[in-house]
């Protein structure tokens, strides 16, 4: 057994391109997911039966289907429904945004529910309408309360990007896998991927923990 790390140094650009793609999808899916998720959470908590049922169906469906299956469904159906050719790499952006929205929605719901109802009534009492109450009173507090959980979910999301393997997109793992198929150096490539993932996710979750302690003091 001997290690040959040339395969990594020679192809570092390709691997980093894959990592950048992973990070980009994470960022897009986080922003999109939180926005859609917040809307879904508001719908789910609304007194309108139709809205809350729709949101519940959306959230429960996506939470009970495995991500690999959702990726495949969107990858195969997307081009057919829209009529535009969508590559695996592009389809992942849409899939993760829509899929993660269901998870973010549950987190945002917990956040909104952590604010006492009295504040909503107070908002109405001073003459704000529903959206103003949400925008200026409830959501900012809810958001701050669940920020650590949102970020933890984002770290999980970043790890889950590696599942685009199912549709053959070139994320960080996909890049390593494609290099492995060409050069057959599984030890070096997969260990490298594992180490980079570990360092990134470990430091991110440490940061989240520090943030959590900070917020805990403020409250």
């Amino acid at each position: 057994m001997s290690f040959d790390f040339n395969v990594i140094t020679d192809n570092i650009d390709y691997l980093m391109q894959g990592l950048r793609y992973s990070l980009q999808v994470t960022l897009v899916a986080m922003i999109g997911g939180v926005i859609i998720g917040t809307v879904l959470a508001m719908m789910r908590l609304s007194s309108n039966k139709i809205f809350s049922t729709l949101a519940t169906i959306y959230i429960n469906t996506f939470r009970s289907i495995p991500l690999v299956l959702v990726l495949l469904i969107f990858f195969l159906f997307g081009p057919k429904i829209t009529g535009i050719p969508i590559s695996a790499n592009q389809s992942a952006y849409i899939t993760f945004t829509i899929f993660e929205a269901a998870y973010y929605a549950e987190i945002m719901r917990a956040g909104i529910q952590s604010i006492s109802r009295g504040q909503t009534f107070a908002g109405f009492a001073v003459g704000l309408n529903y959206f103003q109450t949400m925008r200026y009173i409830i959501l900012p507090q809810a958001f701050r309360n669940v920020l650590p959980i949102l970020l933890t979910q984002t770290v999980i999301l970043f790890q889950d990007i590696s599942l685009v393997y199912a549709i053959g997109a070139t994320d960080f793992l996909g890049a390593a896998d494609k290099l492995n198929q060409r050069d057959f150096k599984p030890i070096e490539l997969y260990l490298f991927v594992a180490v980079v993932y570990f360092i990134l996710c470990f430091s991110l979750s440490r940061l989240v923990k520090r943030l959590q302690n900070k917020i805990a003091i403020i409250r």
Partner: protein, 244 residues
């Protein structure tokens, strides 16, 4: 979209191995359940041990358990599976490596990978379960003359399990979903077979619908079973209401 030819009879078409395609899916469901249930069982035991280790006052045990949990939590599941399949056989002594590559079935390594991944998450839950028990209970146990380990065995662990039942429920549903990732290392579970049938028949709408329904059904079953257990084990006053 309009040109798609719907044909639900695809499931009763005969595949290459003289079986019907729906039999493929049923076999896949069998593997999904086997892999998920075995992994959950192992993960539960391992996770409990590690979770308890993290709450002890022994610094070495804490350290080992912390390293373990951080390691398995911060690497994606699919990368972990690749490590078990492609890296471990190469770095162990050659005889063992050849044995793993030739004679150890894919599902066995997949169960190892999935259970170690899940055990780290269960360890976290067990730890937080034990931490939520008021320390007075432990002290009361010590005052009665129990040893530290006896307080774990008779007081804190039974309580902790009953407190973390809702999170264990969602973990049991997660493990069924996560078992779909094992397709990447060649375990013949539902998703793997679904992909195969799509490649062979090109009837993706029907097959993806069927596979999705199978997963929803499995998740529902796991949820029902676990919430029954939850109902009987709930500690009054500790959990308001079991979360779904």
């Amino acid at each position: 979209m309009s040109s798609y030819h719907w044909d639900w009879s695809v499931f009763t078409q005969i595949a290459d191995d003289d079986r019907f395609y729906y039999q493929w899916l049923i076999e896949g469901l069998g593997w999904t359940c086997k892999v998920a249930v075995c992994s959950f069982f192992i993960a539960f035991i391992l996770g409990s041990i590690l979770g308890i280790m993290r709450t002890t006052e022994n610094k070495i045990l804490q350290f080992i358990s912390n390293v373990y949990v951080e390691f398995f939590r911060n690497i994606p599941l699919i990368v972990q599976l690749f490590l078990w399949f492609h890296v471990v056989p190469e770095i162990v002594p050659e005889n063992l490596g050849t044995y793993i590559k030739q004679d150890v079935p894919a599902w066995f390594l997949a169960i190892i990978g999935l259970s170690l991944f899940t055990s780290a998450r269960i360890a976290e839950q067990v730890r937080s379960g034990i931490m939520t028990i008021p320390s007075g209970q432990k002290m009361a146990g010590l005052a009665l003359g129990l040893t530290e380990w006896q307080t774990y065995l008779y007081i804190r662990i039974p309580m902790a399990y009953r407190i973390i039942m809702p999170t264990l429920t969602s973990e049991s549903m997660n493990i069924f979903k996560n078992s779909s990732v094992t397709f990447a290392v060649g375990v013949l579970e539902v998703f793997f077979y679904g992909k195969q049938i799509i490649e062979k028949t090109a009837q993706e709408y029907e097959i993806l619908t069927a596979v999705a329904l199978i997963y929803i059904f499995v998740a529902l079953c796991a949820n029902i079973i676990m919430s029954l257990i939850e109902k009987y084990t709930r500690v009054p006053g500790f959990i308001a209401k079991g979360s779904k």
